[in-house]
Symmetry: C2
Subunit: 342 residues, 2 copies
């Protein structure tokens, strides 16, 4: 976002661009589905060569690649396309950091259906989805999330593991609430051979987390605990509780209720670690974090992108005396660390 | 477009923003449908007052207005929203230049359906729409276009009227091909009381043009001629032929064929005036003109945003000796003037 700067004198161009912005989503989705970025990374630079590689028409690939160039994902020089640093790292299947799978969640038709009802959602003040609030137990959406979004979570998971000094290799018990793909707990377990992880989520989602734990070689220290974050018996005495991308779905009262359960599950020196989109007090900066609230308007009854002041107050009500916020380099989310004792 | 500049070190943020870009389209559409901009222009500046005015929920309006602020259509200061210059001029119904109607064409569900099939369109090299190429006779799309898009055409129509010196009030005969809403011919007729206009389009579309001619008080000098641009008998001896937003739908051969018919319809000193999205030779700048080709990939079998060199060559083949290009201040399209004689 923070898209094109409006020009100094009034012009319909910004309006025109904005009403066409859905083309950007569709173009990046199509390029990922066709594997255009991998094609270029494999040494195909001209539209006709890329078209041959991805088995598509020359006209289609030429127009798509020009559009990707306009968006900044490709360079173009004398008719030859090249990958931007972002595209090379995240969108070519030759890269270990490939995250093209995220289109499966972010640009799926269910999202479009919710977006198409935004006017009605604004009228109601909450989702106008046929299916209602997307927090229903076992919602297929969360399996799709777990299968698609893990690669986007690698940088924040690495950041959190470093923040909690996982490499110090102290024995720690970690509770990962609404674990999803499991990336956050698994990353700590990989770095710390004495860490044990308990992951809580809906049963179908936990299947994905368990697969990922096996793949990461930490399955022997990984316990999947099916149930709701609001009802499951977490146990107690945890050193660390992970709360990644969960609070934004709820109203404040519900967030406090969840954080009280977290408080009870932690040992006295324990910490809760929250990953969230946290806008500034003005709620309009930084752009990506602030705009996340629209996603919550579309999909939930009462979720939001809360400010740090709001989180601090909610967590204080739940008994956490000290809360600190930590930006993640080059990522839109931030980490809040909450300590029971001062 | 030319959306957020990719950061200097790789980050998934630009990918994340792009996959969410369809939210921008939905948010502006919702704001126009709810008439949020008029509400603010009427003196409602806080979310709760705007919500009351537009009969929507406080949470919904607050989140939507924050998002509109992030996009640059609103300002926000101490919880009070204000209109950007663009929004005040083009999106408040209190403004004579209001163009909110364009959402009816630009962000309708048919467009989304075509966009949702972009991957298939790239494979085929042309539209993957159920309805096929959108050039079928009498396509409802063009009635929707004529009813929705006229306000966006006012600045280019004024520019063209000035370019052809309509205010000199010489008697001129004008042929407006694929007239749509009729704005281009009607604007000349309003400025030049000795101008007569012949408008060609499908019958249902011409009804819109005729309504607009009556509304503008020029109906007595306005003739509607139903038919295809490729088959209708235009007559001849015209001083001016208007070709606004038509060539981009066709392949080059078809453009030449149309321009030959235009050549035959003009008197020896006559001029053809083309309004088009004309990218530079690199086909990736300027952003709005260059990205228009994606729209043609989605909706047509062979349309494109042609460069000036391509238009010059096509028009030369059709017999036009001299072709000059004229940028329109603060608008994404340009005007090409083609003269029969040197």
């Amino acid at each position: 976002m923070a898209s094109s700067t409006p020009s100094s004198h009034p012009s319909p161009e910004h309006i025109f661009q904005t009403l066409n912005a859905h083309q950007q989503t569709a173009a990046l989705k199509a390029a990922i589905e066709l594997d255009v970025f991998t094609a270029i990374d494999e040494g195909n630079h001209r539209a006709e060569d890329i078209a041959n590689f991805v088995n598509a028409a020359h006209r289609g690939v030429r127009i798509l690649c020009d559009y990707l160039t306009i968006m900044g994902f490709l360079g173009k020089d004398e008719g030859k396309y090249s990958l931007s640093p972002d595209a090379a790292l995240f969108l070519s299947k030759r890269s270990p950091a490939y995250m093209g799978t995220i289109v499966g969640f972010m640009a799926n038709e269910a999202h479009h259906q919710n977006l198409a009802r935004l006017t009605e959602a604004v009228r109601r003040g909450g989702t106008a989805s046929d299916k209602g609030d997307n927090l229903a137990p076992n919602d297929e959406l969360w399996v799709s999330f777990a299968r698609s979004m893990a690669p986007l979570m690698v940088p924040p998971a690495m950041f959190i593991a470093q923040l909690v000094r996982a490499q110090d290799a102290q024995p720690i018990r970690v509770l990962d609430i609404a674990a999803g793909h499991g990336t956050f707990g698994i990353t700590i377990a990989k770095q710390n051979p004495k860490a044990t992880i308990t992951a809580v989520d809906w049963p179908a989602v936990l299947e994905v987390a368990k697969e990922n734990a096996i793949h990461a070689g930490v399955a022997d220290r990984y316990t999947a605990h099916a149930g709701s974050a609001f009802e499951a018996n977490f146990g107690d005495g945890y050193d660390l509780v992970l709360l990644t991308n969960i609070f934004h779905h709820f109203d404040k009262e519900t967030c406090v209720q969840l954080m009280k359960r977290v408080h009870a599950a932690l040992q006295p020196e324990g910490k809760a670690v929250t990953l969230e989109f946290v806008p500034n007090e003005d709620r309009v900066t930084p752009a990506t974090a602030a705009s996340f609230s629209l996603q919550m308007l579309i999909g939930t009854n009462a979720g939001d992108a809360y400010t740090f002041a709001e989180y601090r107050e909610m967590f204080r009500q739940a008994g956490f005396a000290k809360n600190t916020i930590h930006p993640i380099p080059a990522m839109p989310e931030q980490v809040i660390v909450s300590e029971k004792s001062h």
